[in-house]
Assembly symmetry: C2
Homo-oligomer: 275 residues x 2
């Protein structure tokens, strides 16, 4: 039986025929000049920016991912801006809070409550290094998805993730562990797998045919759109995230329309490969 999250993701993807997730990672220094001058505070400018991006891209996006770092660096107004942005996401789309949290049990419970109860996110990301008890409090929210970092898209990701354990790279062990955590908790586990390592992405999909993948790394990071699309199957859904190449598609007043165009283009490229 499909988990509640997978079913909701499937519906969200059907609604706009898209597996694109728009990354709402606003950097005040990169916002259009006109917008920055119009608002008195960075928080207000960012909220207006996010609102315009969401409205313009909504026809082509099944989800929005908000990286907590880009709100925390606003200080005390950050959490409100994050929460207010989440309120702007249309009903058909899902909301992922990308916070990569990982801490001991009672602390992880606090983080999970912040993300799922206070912010009402549909999914979040977590770090695997501390093991099951650091992830379990997230998995207890069974109708939300907990995406475990398996294979990340950054240049240094090999340092730990490619270390060989019993003849296999560490990230394959992490994938198997994470899948087992999902089963033993009856939670909705997903994997974060970067598009910058196409062969590994395919191999992980072969090994884990039904687990939802959140795939960063296309766009500014140069990952493979084709590999991301190929990881999407009838049973194994993917969310393909792009942040900077959508948000900053234009530095001018037409930023929202150009963001919509970039989102549509990514959607079509993914669908073309996949169909």
């Amino acid at each position: 039986m499909e988990s509640n999250f997978t079913e909701r993701l499937r519906n969200a993807q059907s609604a706009c025929d898209s597996m694109v997730c728009v990354g709402l990672d606003p950097d005040i220094a990169k916002l259009p000049e006109a917008l920055r001058q119009k608002y008195a505070t960075p928080e207000a400018a960012i909220l207006a920016f996010n609102s315009a991006i969401i409205q313009a891209t909504a026809p082509y996006a099944c989800a929005y991912k908000l990286n907590a770092a880009f709100y925390e660096n606003l200080g005390s107004g950050g959490f409100s801006t994050l929460a207010a942005t989440i309120d702007l996401i249309p009903n058909h789309a899902l909301c992922i809070v990308d916070a990569k949290r990982g801490d001991i049990g009672n602390t992880a419970r606090s983080y999970a409550s912040s993300i799922f109860d206070l912010l009402g996110a549909d999914g979040c990301t977590v770090a695997p290094y501390m093991g099951f008890d650091a992830v379990q409090p997230f998995l207890e929210y069974r109708d939300r998805a907990t995406f475990v970092l398996v294979r990340t898209s950054n240049p240094s990701s090999d340092e730990l993730q490619s270390l060989i354990v019993n003849g296999k790279p560490l990230y394959e062990h992490v994938a198997s562990l994470a899948a087992a955590w999902g089963e033993k908790s009856s939670g909705s586990v997903g994997f974060v797998v970067g598009a910058t390592k196409p062969h590994e992405l395919q191999r992980l999909r072969d090994q884990h045919p039904t687990i939802p993948f959140l795939i960063p790394g296309v766009g500014a990071q140069g990952g493979s759109v084709k590999a991301a699309a190929r990881a999407a199957t009838s049973k194994g859904l993917v969310l393909v995230n792009s942040s900077r190449s959508i948000l900053y598609a234009s530095p001018n007043k037409d930023f929202d329309q150009m963001a919509a165009k970039a989102t549509r283009k990514l959607r079509d490229a993914l669908n073309q490969t996949n169909h």
Copy 2:
């Protein structure tokens, strides 16, 4: 030559003859009833609680560690409460923000700025799974300490950390990598090593004689005070953290005096073993 952070830590420890770090991880449900009733908001009650704890324990604590989770779950008032608590820490003591962050370069930069620029922390904790580029933005603040999770104190920590890579457990590789990150960036790297694994703690100290260790897990988690004390040498400083067994030493009005007593007791137990 000692790093600026090590020098400051040495001074902080001399000032109160203590290697105790008090973990300010306030859980509103565990605060004394009288205090909860006196204040209109959880934020105000927590700030009053933290203030009393800091004032009472300051003679016996060289540092305070604030776990971000216990502030984030307050919502929009959380960051202000965290910042206001940091402002209450006396000059002689250091402030560690325990956030265990880890993300790709441009995102890690945002987190580092939030912790070091906005909050003005002396140190923070980070997760190692993504490799060097996720840690580098923190290490660029050379006078602050970046404590990398090496061997954590929680029950599930073996799942990944004890996997054998080339005949050695993964956490030993992480320790060597983290030490190398510190060297190549000229940053101040530290290790988080739980007191719940005494032999491993000792082995890590033998392998890395000069790196500062942040040691959680004594107190509520049952870690060894003796092992923590033995890891402290003239060259290799340690910060021994206790949270719950200090904060909740008494559920009554005398909570601050009992917290002071618990801090002093831990300080003396550490010093007795060490001297």
